[in-house]
Symmetry: C2
Subunit: 331 residues, 2 copies
Amino acid sequence: MSDIIIAVDAMGGDNAPFEIVKGCVFAVGEHKNIKIILIGREKEVQDELDKYSQDKSRIEIVNADEVIATEESPTAAIKNKKNSSMVIGLNLVKEGKAAAFISAGNTGALLTGAVTIIKRIKGVERPALGTLMPMENGKSSLLIDAGANVDAKPSFLVQFAKMGSVYMENVMGVKNPKVGLINIGAEKEKGNTLTKETYELLEEADINFVGNIEARDLFLGKVDVMVCDAFVGNVVLKFAEGFVGSILRIVKRELLSSFLSKVGALLSSGSFKRLKKYFDYSKVGGAPFIGLSGLVVKAHGNSEEKDIVGAINQCIKFIESDITNKIQEKI
Amino acid sequence: MSDIIIAVDAMGGDNAPFEIVKGCVFAVGEHKNIKIILIGREKEVQDELDKYSQDKSRIEIVNADEVIATEESPTAAIKNKKNSSMVIGLNLVKEGKAAAFISAGNTGALLTGAVTIIKRIKGVERPALGTLMPMENGKSSLLIDAGANVDAKPSFLVQFAKMGSVYMENVMGVKNPKVGLINIGAEKEKGNTLTKETYELLEEADINFVGNIEARDLFLGKVDVMVCDAFVGNVVLKFAEGFVGSILRIVKRELLSSFLSKVGALLSSGSFKRLKKYFDYSKVGGAPFIGLSGLVVKAHGNSEEKDIVGAINQCIKFIESDITNKIQEKI
């Protein structure tokens, strides 16, 4: 099998290029069958690479003079910055020169660029952002759509359910994955117009649809694929992220409010560090745009080295599982 | 000032009539200016009342032969069960025989009944369910709509913002309450069709609109009124409820995973109990339907004595602050 070539946006995210380059150096050390193309301002990227004594023969730099900033308008940025690391990276995938593109930069621009530069899989109405969330029981479930389509139609959601099933089965190895529709009640009749119409269609679809999943059960791991529009998905994801921080701060404050508790908290401080890591699920290897004919993965804006390695690992799994063709068959 | 008369559904919720009746007995002990009308099967309610030696002269029983169950279809239940405790209670408010009605029963039926039996405040398009959520900083913020209108229009959300402002100012004593629109980004341009259109209208409205509030900040107490449609509101509320349980279970599991941590956890077990209480905000005194010309409060389905007392306290504040007339002025 020939090497897998992965393009990485060296300039995207809060910690670029430092942590991005570092992650790539470690990833080529771990995987002997990959090559990395780092895209960014050549001198800056080379300076970072020079810091490492490891073998870098499988890392190539492609120069990009421009960078798309986080606050830029997605459509204008993609249209006007043809020499940005993001546009160049997406074109590498389009032209077949790379099997995947990873960026921790502007999410909206990455989505807009991915849809306009790389074609959708034939039959897919809208690509969706899929994010793996760790569950209380230790499993991971896929939240789809986590950020692409804020105004969705029932037919979009049905495709998200199908694409999510293919993902969980082929990339995560879950047999006959359970699909749940995020809703405000367990019964079929519950919900808004979107979810009620979607429910009917999901019952007919060729997937293992198990019904509605209420928001209070989202973290229990009862289903493998959690389907929703991107407004709800983003609210769930961001709320969880912020809420975990608040709860851990309150737990700490409470634990430190009496002497005995203070002793207790000191004794358990190692556990707290592990906990924080456990909940840091914004970072589980990045989120792929599912439904494109090429692989584009969004890494979290504050990605560090380990997150880039995680995203690269996910790309490898994706490519090896031939997910694009399998989605094509399902749709 | 004459006594405030509050009607209470003795048959609604998981712990009826036991905890409901108990809460009413304690409430009349605390407040010398209230009378309670308990509605339910007369013998059952009287048997419960007989368990207490306290003064019950300000508690009256009104018989209701029927009970609306949790799983019943709201519209059918309200239409067909004219002798249910819920329909009788709503009629007492409509006829001016009670200043408020509290029920821990079927939420959908209570909403349907409230809208059909008690009129809306003139000019109000849709009443909304308002829930106080405790924030990390110790304040409480109002989530509106927490459960009434799952398919909302921008004009509804603007009214929710206004009604929520009146509520926080008059019932909670917050001067010039800050109103935030729950959205998936901080900038005006972010969001779905509903939130983008609503943002424009909120900018023009006579309230202290401070812009979008992202889901990750919902628990920080940055705003006093958090506006959204009931689908999003319900997802946020239920997700928080379930998530807290998951996190506390994981914290415990982690704390118990090593010997030192185990000692720590034992020392801090009192703090854990306080924590659990802190987050039990599904129960903060019940949620009023805001925008009706009479006061209807939904208590949580698993309400206990203290929750009924909390709901009664809230009713008293509501009535004393003359909220209905103040909303009428604002709309």
